[in-house]
């Protein structure tokens, strides 16, 4: 049990430290100091800084996906479900700007493995978007990568806000990310009506 709580403490510390000073500038010593554990304990759990960062990243993504899913599933009808899921995502990111930067911005600078982890995290949102295909009248005719692209649009809009230092205002972005989500499935006129 002690080992487990040390691991959790370390992962929380990794999120805080990387979000504060960036991945490149973070050392294992920073992580052990912040978590209050020894170097030996660190290396018993993780091979290196990257392995620790990736484990911390997975915890962050799990939490975000759970929040999205519970908001999404509480609604009926795909456009309303999408709105609820996106609102939950924006709220969660705005509440913890450090975590938001880690999840969407810092991950890009943490090397190829982290970049693949980020892609995998985006893929976990696919089921929420694929439902748009069933909802759309001509859904089966849409290009194969429609969901991937819609997810990329949402991630791009959010990353632009984070890069501009506007994490706190993310909830104001709901109408724009909802439009970007809906437009490939139901077209611009219906998407604008739903997002307005």
């Amino acid at each position: 049990m002690i080992a487990r709580s040390q691991r959790e403490r370390l992962l929380e510390a990794a999120v805080r430290v990387v979000a504060e000073q960036g991945y490149a500038a973070t050392t294992v010593a920073d992580l052990t100091r912040e978590a209050g554990i020894s170097r030996t304990t660190f290396y018993a759990m993780f091979e290196d800084k990257e392995a620790c960062f990736l484990a911390a990243y997975d915890v962050v993504v799990d939490t975000l996906v759970r929040r999205i899913a519970s908001a999404y599933e509480a609604e009926e009808g795909w456009p309303r479900r999408a709105r609820a899921g996106l609102a939950a995502l924006l709220d969660a990111l705005a509440e913890e700007p450090e975590l938001a930067r880690l999840a969407l911005v810092d991950v890009g600078a943490a090397g190829p493995a982290a970049q693949r982890r980020y892609r995998a995290a985006l893929q976990r949102l696919t089921p929420f978007f694929d439902e748009g295909r069933d909802f759309a009248p001509g859904g089966r005719n849409l290009p194969a990568n429609t969901s991937r692209m819609a997810i990329g649009a949402v991630a791009g809009l959010i990353s632009d806000e984070l890069a501009a230092g506007r994490a706190g205002q993310l909830p104001d972005l709901l109408s724009e990310v909802l439009f970007a989500t809906l437009v490939p499935y139901i077209g611009p006129v219906a998407a604008a009506r739903e997002a307005g």
């Binding site: 290009p143 429609t146 990329g152 632009d160 109408s175 437009v183 490939p184 006129v189 604008a192």
Partner: protein, 242 residues
């Protein structure tokens, strides 16, 4: 309101060169040799930088990683570049110059907007497929490799965004769609491309043309017309898996 959104006017950018110049992009001043054989030490270093970024990322790349494969000494490296970032920046400039050159070549204010989008997307995908290391550097590494590289990446993106947002003659319910629609569509296309690059499918990027035509035109043309454009694009695209 995002600072990158141009006014909602539909006038085509009559002078694309001027637009590129305004973004201080190095169009036309340098271009990658074709085929990519690097004669000068500087060029070899730039190619080597791109390759190292592709294999281990910019952060983990050392000066030795850049010099050794290029067969260039450390001393020469520091004669040509101030530091690692300076070299990376020069490599980014080179690839952006190449990309802008391709876009300028297919651009014409007289072409229908959708045709221009398709031609530009096709040229861009073709360039990325043929320059896998530079594709990865420009789209995967540059966005997260320091302020200077990010600024170059962002200005290239703004040029593409201007192309997308202007020059349409048949807008659908323009006033209703958010001003970020073009930026979102570009991010959608970029995300798909980067996903394929990271999955090791860079050579097959041209197959994504129909998807990318759809996502970039649907906010403006509506689904029916965007799907018609997809069918046009499919005629010009190698079959998936081929």
């Amino acid at each position: 309101m995002p600072p990158t959104s141009p006014p909602n006017g539909n006038a085509p950018p009559a002078d694309l060169g001027g637009l590129i110049e305004k973004e201080q992009l190095p169009a036309g001043r340098e271009a990658l040799a074709e085929p990519l054989i690097s004669h000068s030490q500087r060029e070899r270093l730039l190619v080597s930088m791109a390759k190292s970024c592709a294999s281990k990322g910019y952060g983990a790349t050392t000066i030795a990683d850049v010099c050794e494969p290029a067969g260039v000494s450390r001393a020469t490296f520091y004669e040509l570049f101030k530091d690692k970032e300076d070299c990376f920046h020069a490599a980014m400039e080179l690839s952006l110059a190449d990309a802008m050159g391709r876009i300028v070549a297919v651009y014409s204010p007289d072409k229908p907007w959708a045709t221009m989008v398709r031609d530009a997307a096709a040229a861009f995908l073709d360039l990325l497929a043929n320059r896998p290391e530079f594709a990865r550097m420009a789209l995967v590494e540059a966005p997260s490799s320091g302020d200077r590289a990010f600024e170059l990446y962002a200005s290239g993106k703004r040029v593409l965004q201007s192309l997308l947002e202007r020059g349409r003659d048949d807008p659908v319910e323009e006033e209703a769609i958010p001003s970020s629609a073009g930026r979102a569509a570009l991010s959608a296309a970029e995300s798909l491309i980067v996903g394929q690059i990271l999955a090791g499918n860079t050579a097959r990027l041209p197959e994504l043309l129909p998807d990318i035509v759809y996502i970039t035109t649907v906010p403006y043309l509506g689904q029916e017309e965007a799907l018609r454009q997809v069918r046009e694009a499919e005629k010009a695209t190698p079959p998936a898996g081929g």
